[in-house]
Amino acid sequence: MPSAELAIRARNLGKSFWMGTRGERRTVPQMLRRWVTGNSPQRLHWALQNLNFDIQRGEILGVMGPNGAGKSTLLLLLARILAPSEGTLQVFGKTNPFFQLSAGLEHRLTVLDNFSLCSALLGMSRKHFQKKLSEMIAFSGLEEYLYAHYGELSAGFAARLPLATAIHADLDIILVDEMLAVGDHAFQSKCMEVFRGFKKQGKTLVIASHSRDLIQSLSTHALYLDKGRPVYLGDATDMPPAP
């Protein structure tokens, strides 16, 4: 029976993709050829399979696993950017993935323009944005670069803008994917402090990382994925060294 504080529920969750096998492009002539010959140059790849878990509000789930384990796919499913191929996933609250956020921003616009664009992408109203802008700028430490082109920032500085905006976007469930890796130590510490604050505010955090120390210091629960399948799911502190 789900409680009123349930934030995420996954049952038999799976996600598959059709992947190319012959390096063919998806073109109209190729589609016609497939119709005529009945041959498909694609194979089904399961990025995630057979995942079951419940996360309550205020809990932090750390997701670990090697490259290609399905960590990013899980976060995209939780953000409802991808749809499950099998099973069910219920997410209760406003969420957005907290990774590669700078990827969609406009490098030829100014940092200030991108604060505005990023906040709109995260669903902030203009009023909320204007109220929070000074806090976002202060958090990001980009005061001196507001009128620089976003593309002129270093990777670490560029990542601060979406991170600072997302932290102030009033999300219920925060999804973080290795994003802290690009920030310097001082900025990472600031983010960790904010993430711990989320827990006190009853917000749910799902963080994907390769760092066992990070997961164990921050998370209440840990999930270890390998080739899209759960290998360990339980208390973060009890996670064995190499599940």
Binding site: W18, Q90, L122
Partner: protein
């Protein structure tokens, strides 16, 4: 027993602001870094007008009064449709990273460049109308008040069509090339630089099936002869435009998850 939480619900984001932000970004980026700025936008229709006018004035000028006005109106309206659909067909691929990193209604990615091109077209009309009056001697008439209605119908038709094209563009990687060829054919199948009267009667009926042809006829009648648009045609076009927008939005909404799958692999 504790109350069950509601099932996954769509977050209610103020997406109108996002649409506006992306339209503004499109406009800023288009005019940025060019000394001529907006003049670049005008250059394309002006160049097309000059070439077509010089080529056809002697021949087509015999059949059309005020051929310069006839041609200019045709080119500006066609340019909007052609430019808007050309950016729409690649819009999902162009904004791939945005789509894969943020959750928002995907139609915004298609509609924002279409609206940015529409804004350029409005500016072109802001330049064109005084030119018609001061240079070509077409005095303003009360029927010009219908022009915004015709432009809105054209915008809605183009937006609806663009939504379908964008989905095809995401599904097939060569759709932008196919659309470039098809839109070139459409240019010749729409009375932009020739009048309907020089086409054989049977073929006229075929050309009249195109909503663009009907809109061009009414826009020219409005601007050149001061006639109000044919109400039954305008109503029909408005219904068609509304249906195309609704169907296009429905298609994009039903395609939103498959779209990300397509963009990922």
């Amino acid at each position: 027993m504790p109350a069950l939480p509601s099932p996954s619900r769509k977050p209610r984001f103020p997406y109108r602001r996002l649409l506006l932000e992306l339209v503004l970004a499109e406009m800023k980026l288009r005019d940025q870094g060019t000394a001529l700025g907006f003049l670049w936008t005008l250059l394309h229709p002006v160049l097309m007008f000059t070439v077509l006018y010089m080529l056809f004035i002697k021949w087509v000028g015999k059949f059309v009064d005020q051929y310069a006005v006839y041609l200019l109106v045709g080119i500006v309206l066609w340019s909007f449709f052609q430019r808007a659909t050309s950016v729409a067909v690649v819009s999902f691929n162009r904004q791939r990273l945005l789509i894969m990193n943020y959750r928002f209604p995907r139609e915004i990615v298609v509609l924002s460049p279409v609206l940015a091109v529409f804004w350029s077209t409005l500016l072109e009309f802001a330049v064109l109308l005084p030119c018609l009056w001061l240079i070509l001697g077409v005095a303003p008439r009360w029927a010009w008040c219908f022009l915004p209605v015709l432009l809105l119908v054209l915008l809605a038709l183009t937006a609806g069509f663009s939504l379908f094209l964008a989905v095809l563009g995401a599904e097939y990687q060569d759709m932008d090339r196919i659309w470039a060829v098809l839109s070139s054919a459409m240019f010749y199948l729409t009375p932009i630089f020739y009048p309907m009267s020089i086409i054989a009667e049977g073929r006229q009926k075929l050309l009249l099936l195109s909503p663009l042809t009907q809109l061009l006829i009414d826009a020219r009648a409005c601007l050149m002869q001061g006639q109000a648009p044919r109400l039954e045609v305008l109503a029909g076009l408005a219904v068609l435009a509304a249906l195309s927008v609704v169907a296009g939005l429905g298609l994009v909404r039903s395609y939103q998850y498959r779209l990300v799958d397509r963009l990922m692999v």
